[in-house]
Symmetry: C2
Subunit: 355 residues, 2 copies
């Protein structure tokens, strides 16, 4: 993700009081945002790019008149291999999707490994083959890389950092800051699968139905969406760490608008819902790696949903809610029981090392 | 560094026989090259970009007619803070220099942290302030970033992965494959300081004279060199992991030429030479983070050295040797005693976690 500066968030565990980095600082939720706002951005000082502090999944650069998008992510998922993917494919999908959320098609990827001494070469081959297969399926080359090895106990197996650059699609003009009252919120597919799959793989919970990560690339879906609706799409976000709740809260905070969603519209697969119930997780806070939320002009919404549903990765696309002028910065859900409840950003750490 | 495919190197510890990743695989020397050639590139398959398998410090891309260079490196140096720098400044210099070695000026950097739970926030601030100061001094923005946190014992403090993109300077046309017989080899300054400084900091060896890392950005030096000699510079390399010996061996292997250097011409500071003697290190294998070797047309060499010496980072630039048609793929040193000795690539690991 890109440099984030969320304002107005209250702080349940002030950075200055912990004085040490906690797992919650890597959650992608409120503590992550505060670490960035209170520690990292002030320390970076004038070197921090991306004016305005708008949180985006990738940075937008102008290179000789070409709109180039750049994104970087480290992947530390545990276990390395899980139902529906592994750290290799995940590292490609995550970065391709961060570029896509800025309306960009990927041009090139760079991969850096930090490997623990003693890591099995067979696993390194398997991870790298997965990187290669995922990149080939996307159609983007891995143009450069790096490998560092640290002693036993100084890392946990392998960490993968993937950086991508892409070219913004003609007509794309999305930003977390561009949501307006009246806009429609759509989601491209079921939510909650990735985080639940990781946790069930980690804990060997043995659910009756195996839950599979939704890890997959979304650049083709985005290309079809942009071709259909162009600048009618105001914002896109892939709800990874922190889930749909955190993605919507970021948009609400940065755009200064309110968001209302319908509980009945949130597409949670039955096994995921059951697992979340058992594990005490809110599916809206669980990480996804293969779906997106988009904020679109109301007039464009129906045609956009039709186009999304024409692709496998958007087959279950649905309308989730709308942008309102009320309660700016807040996300509210109309519950099945007819009430409303505030959907907060994930605060600390729900599931460490989910991606 | 970029994807490397060195051919013809004999293998002292075949990848297939170890079956586990060793520290030597991260050395930047022969084992690293073999890991890439025998494991990583085959596993990546068709997704591996950069045709021809020429080892470069960065990949060269064409984006809408603009020559864009991209490089990624993970930094795992231990200790995090050392005389002359820290992991933050090092991560900026290392990546800026990799871009520079392809004749590029940096445009944007991305930084990804993997942090161990419990890492001191004061240290995180210090590292990040160093990132910011180094990037500001270079004049390149940090446009995007990522932070992941792993549990105690799953990483060692902090690892930093820095990815840079740059624009190739007009007139630059360098490649490790472009060295030709008759070319002159120059080095921009003293060698051996970085690795020796790290080791002395790590071991608290307490040398009489503190040895300071040479960590610094070389993009201004390269810009001046390219402005002076343009395509008369055939190859450039910053001799980081694996040292000057490995950098020259890579050029010799890829260009299919021989290299001869003079022992008396190798600029090793006296304290570095003394420390290497004590520690049993060959200064030619010790990592540097603030000097470069360049291979240039003989007619351009003198003017190039004059320009290099006009900048602080090139003040001690000197002629190291020349490219020959004999013994292709081999680097030979004429010793002080009048004999010759073969300078091999670093084979295994001399100093783990040097960068």
């Amino acid at each position: 993700m890109s440099l984030v500066d969320l304002t107005g968030a209250s702080c349940p565990l002030p950075v200055s009081e912990t004085e040490k980095v906690t797992l919650g600082h890597g959650s992608g939720g409120q503590l992550s945002a505060e670490l960035l706002r209170d520690v990292l951005l002030p320390a970076l000082g004038a070197a921090a790019g991306q004016g305005g502090g708008v949180p985006e999944d990738a940075a937008l650069l102008d290179i000789e008149g070409t709109a180039v998008v750049m994104s970087t992510d480290s992947f530390v998922v545990s276990p390395l291999f899980f139902p529906g993917g592994d750290i290799g494919s995940l590292s490609i999908h995550g970065t391709v999707n961060d570029l896509a959320m800025m309306g960009a098609t990927p041009l090139a990827l760079a991969i850096a490994y930090v490997i623990e001494e003693g890591f099995e070469l067979a696993d390194l081959r398997r991870v790298t083959a997965s990187v290669g297969a995922a990149a080939s399926a996307v159609g983007v080359p891995v143009v450069t890389g790096d490998t560092k090895v640290v002693g036993r106990g100084a890392a946990d197996g392998i960490f993968v950092t993937t950086t991508g650059i892409g070219r913004r699609l003609p007509g794309a003009n999305v930003s977390a800051a561009f949501a307006r009252p009246g806009d429609v919120i759509v989601v491209s597919g079921p939510v909650g699968s990735h985080g639940t799959a990781i946790l069930s793989a980690r804990e060997s919970l043995g659910f009756d139905t195996e839950i599979t990560s939704d890890s997959r690339p979304l650049h083709r879906l985005v290309a079809a969406m942009v071709a259909q609706a162009g600048p009618g799409i105001h914002a896109m976000r892939d709800p990874t760490r922190g889930g749909v709740a955190s993605a919507l809260n970021e948009i609400a905070a940065v755009s200064g608008i309110g968001i209302e969603i319908d509980e009945r519209a949130v597409p949670v697969p039955v096994p995921v819902a059951a697992a979340c119930e058992l594990l005490g997780l809110d599916p809206l806070h669980v990480a996804n790696e293969g779906c997106l939320v988009a904020v679109t002009e109301p007039a464009a919404a129906d045609a956009l949903l039709t186009v999304m549903r024409s692709l496998p990765e958007g087959r279950h696309a649905t309308r989730l809610g709308e942008v309102v002028a009320d309660h700016p910065g807040r996300v509210v859900m109309r519950t099945l029981l007819g009430g409303t409840r505030i959907i907060d950003m994930l605060i600390g750490e729900q599931l460490p090392r989910i991606c």
